[in-house]
Symmetry: none
Subunit: 235 residues, 2 copies
DNA sequence: TTCGCGACTCAGGAAACTCTCAGCCTTCAC
DNA sequence: GTGAAGGCTGAGAGTTTCCTGAGTCGCGAA
């Protein structure tokens, strides 16, 4: 994974009381190369932060003892300015969440896609701990994607993508040339609880092709019986 | 076997309640150089993991006591993050299986071919326990195959293969110079319950020859009365 | 409320792939 | 040399997989 070289320098603390979410996140982030610790309550989160000094916390807003905002408040009070990525339920009132993006913090709404979450984490780490500015651009052939501005170009020509199209292209791009199975694509690009028809994937591949694969060599290649790959076609 | 040098450092636990599958897998994986243990239920699988600390588990989703997902959940809960390769029936609803490709885990649908299964196992082991990046390439003479991108070249010229052609060539390649019997080829490259005409093999050898064995010394050699071998011809 | 947009579902048709079959060719044993 | 067994390959049927246009649903903006 393209991000691994950067990721494995960072410690991330995941705090959620639902075991399945904790496990999902821990597994996914470890696979991305992060050093991951877990906590399942506000109290244990505070203890873990004091002890392990993570570089970032992924913090569910709903916790059994006190809520995520309270955890963040206590951390700040104790002088810990570790950035926090909040996980919120879809129906959490916006005014509670508002203001989070002002500091270094950000939030992601459940259910989220892993591509989304990992992208957000990398953005926060980048702007918190610094990194050369070019690191937010991913390029393959004449296709370029900027992770911060979410802009996409094919051969200098800017291209507008919807949110789903962007996530799909981004995942293809950071895995350029590799063949990705339908399972991998659905797992990473769609929400973790997406249970719908797997044919969405084909539909979105079709949308993407119409937007980025006209005028220029076709980059999105079907690997029949397996999945898709972003790569230059053979002559 | 090319993979043997790596494989024999690894312990694999196979968990399935069908004896025939267990034996098939155990035999095949032992032959590949893995150190194989067997379990036939969720309970005994958990015990075996605790005792033997395998590097990877091949785990059927359908088990007599509790299902494969539950086994995996309990393992994670107990702090065992051994990667799992799930075996699922073709008709298992996709949404249950999805989510498995996130970490190091993956799944294979029954009936599978052994070549497929072993390839997946090696991919998981490689990305879990690390390995130099070039390890995903297999080469013999001027023939090269990349397991991640599924690209194949003969003397720099890229070659397009269908899924079956790819599996066949891959198996020949990792066994380069060895004579493989038709039985071995059918057993490894085709699904384990393939009951059709054994002449498919000849058909696919024919397809492969047309794609990779024109222009250059003929690498696919017929061993009359036995099978085939991938090797340089004698002058 | 209505409108517009994005996300997803559905279904028909096209394309690709796998496998079977049949006839021909090659090799080997006698 | 000749026959039989083994091997090769072109053609085509059947199936699977994929693509895409059309339509539904839900949400947020006007």
């Amino acid at each position: 994974m393209q991000t691994a070289a950067r990721a494995d320098q960072y410690r991330v603390l995941v705090v959620d009381d639902e075991t399945s979410i904790n496990e999902l996140l821990a597994t996914a982030l470890r696979y991305e190369g992060f050093d991951v610790a877990i906590a399942d309550s506000g109290i244990s989160a505070l203890a873990a932060v004091a002890e392990q000094r993570p570089n970032l916390i992924v913090l569910d807003v709903m916790l059994p003892d006190f809520d995520g905002f309270e955890v963040a408040r206590r951390l700040r009070r104790d002088g810990q300015d570790v950035p926090v990525l909040f996980l919120t339920a879809r129906d959490t009132t916006e005014d509670k969440v508002r203001g989070l993006t002002i500091g270094g913090d950000d939030y992601v709404t459940k259910p989220f896609s892993l591509a989304e979450l990992v992208a957000r984490i990398n953005v926060i780490l980048r702007r918190t701990y610094g990194d050369d500015g070019s690191a937010s651009r991913v390029t393959y052939a004449d296709l370029t994607l900027d992770e911060e501005t979410r802009e996409v170009w094919r051969d200098q020509t800017p291209i507008d993508l919807t949110a789903t199209e962007y996530r799909l292209l981004h995942y293809l791009l950071i895995n350029a040339r590799k063949v990705l199975t339908r399972g991998q694509l659905l797992d990473h690009v769609w929400d973790y609880d997406f249970g719908g028809d797997a044919r969405v994937l084909e539909t979105y591949i079709s949308y993407l092709r119409k937007k980025i694969d006209t005028g220029g060599p076709q980059l999105i290649q079907t690997v029949r019986g397996v999945g898709y790959s972003l790569r230059l076609p053979r002559e």
